[in-house]
Amino acid sequence: MTLTEHLFENLRLELRRGCLALAVLAQLRQEHYGYTLRKALVEHGLEIDESTLYPLLRRLESQGLLVSEWREEDKRRKRFYKLSGEGTGILAQLLQEWQTINASIDHIL
């Protein structure tokens, strides 16, 4: 990997980090467990590694933005996540921030 490619990769990861949390919160307005959440995000064009998504869910839950419960589905116990009350409020604020940034960048470009 050249220095430029390395630099791009670092910047890309920085850019994606915040966006992924936003996308996950937005997608979890509907209940999902880890794997179906990942599939839903991929279907919307957002690729995300398992090693990024599953720990992210735990972190968002520990921050009180998600709630989860273990439930049996298709004869297998799965942990389902959905947005908490606090998460709903934070998501609304984040979306507003996102739209402002997006509009500003569009304006700059």
Binding site: Y33, G34, Y35, T36, R38, K39, D49, E50, S51, T52, Y54, P55, R58, R59, S62, R76, R77, K78, R79
Partner: protein
């Protein structure tokens, strides 16, 4: 699938122990669902190679487990600038105190040179210890900040009015900092100790080569003794002055006085050498060797005379330049006032 079981078991070993079972159960459910999807799409179980490629894509067990760790760094970006500043200050103060204590201890010991060398050898290890304790302290603070964000005392508020004023003077005229003055004092003491110990313990200057000193046919002329004590006296005066500066907090205002006074004072020993009778800095230990070493001695003394001429010329030029700059600055100020 055996390979998936082995993968999950490897992940378990690196997970936070309190949540191991819970995390692993969730990860297993997600990965098994993914595996089922893959197998139903293919219409057959994955081969060993395909399973290997899939698990490889997930990342190593260590990487996967690391993402579940709440903290990925020892000292985070918020604390790191403070850590670096504290480390720098601690190193400076520790070295300063250590040098002073070592010089005092060496002066009272039977073999001061050896004691100083031993102290110098210990210093890097002691600094390493200081660094280790500081790092540990900051790592614990980082851990506490991450775990109990609201329970720690808030950081003191920063105010732009606390910024130091701009100093546009040339670097030689800039107000010194306290740290700089302390460093000058410490290195002054260390330098004087070295200067005073060198004749008694030439090993600290020449190492094993000091053994050859007694075999060379030359000896210092009496003028060198005068030069030696003048340099020692000026260094002692400098140390005393630095102590006064620190005690009376004079260091921000004395940069100019120091520069001029000590540059002029340094001309005394240099002039003594320049005006030495016959420019004889070395003599022969025995006049019997005159025929053999006479010309070498003359060359040595002449070479040293040239060196002293150059050094004196540089010093005089520095004093003149500095005086000129001071005069120019004074003229500028008076013009500005007019």
């Amino acid at each position: 699938m055996e390979l998936l079981d082995r993968y999950l078991e490897a992940v378990r070993k690196n997970l936070p122990w309190k949540r191991q079972d819970d995390i692993l159960a969730e990860l297993r459910a997600n990965l098994e669902a993914q595996l089922e999807d893959k197998e139903s799409a293919l219409g057959r179980p994955l081969t060993q190679e395909e399973a290997g490629a899939w698990l490889k894509q997930l990342g190593s067990p260590l990487q996967m487990a690391a993402r579940y760790q709440p903290q990925q760094y020892l000292i985070g970006p918020a604390l790191f600038p403070i850590y670096r500043q504290v480390m720098r200050t601690a190193f400076l103060w520790f070295t300063a105190i250590y040098v002073v204590v070592s010089v005092i201890q060496a002066a009272g010991s039977e073999r001061p040179g050896r004691a100083l060398l031993a102290a110098a050898g210990h210093l890097p290890w002691l600094l390493l210890g200081v660094a280790a304790w500081l790092t540990l302290g900051f790592a614990v603070t980082e851990f506490a900040v991450a775990r109990f964000p609201g329970k720690l005392p808030p950081q003191p508020e920063w105010s732009p009015s606390s910024l130091p004023p701009l100093d546009r003077r040339p670097s030689a005229l800039k107000a010194r900092t306290r740290t700089q003055t302390i460093a000058e004092l410490v290195f002054g003491i260390a330098g004087l100790a070295f200067w005073l110990l060198a004749p008694i313990w030439p090993h600290i200057l020449l190492g094993p080569g000091a053994a050859y000193l007694k075999q060379i046919p030359f000896a210092f002329a009496p003028v060198c003794r005068t030069f030696y004590w003048w340099v020692a006296a000026i260094s002692a005066l400098q140390i005393a002055w630095r102590t006064v500066e620190l005690a009376l907090r004079l260091w921000p205002r004395t940069a100019r006085i120091n520069l001029v006074a000590f540059a002029v004072l340094s001309l005394i020993p240099l002039s003594i050498m320049l005006l030495a009778p016959g420019h004889a800095y070395f003599t022969l230990r025995s006049t019997a060797n005159l025929a053999r070493y006479g010309s070498a001695l003359a060359s040595l003394n002449h070479g040293l005379y040239v060196v002293f001429c150059i050094v004196v010329a540089i010093k005089v030029l520095q004093i003149l330049c500095f005086g000129g700059r001071l005069a120019a600055n004074a003229a500028k100020r008076s013009l500005a006032r007019a």
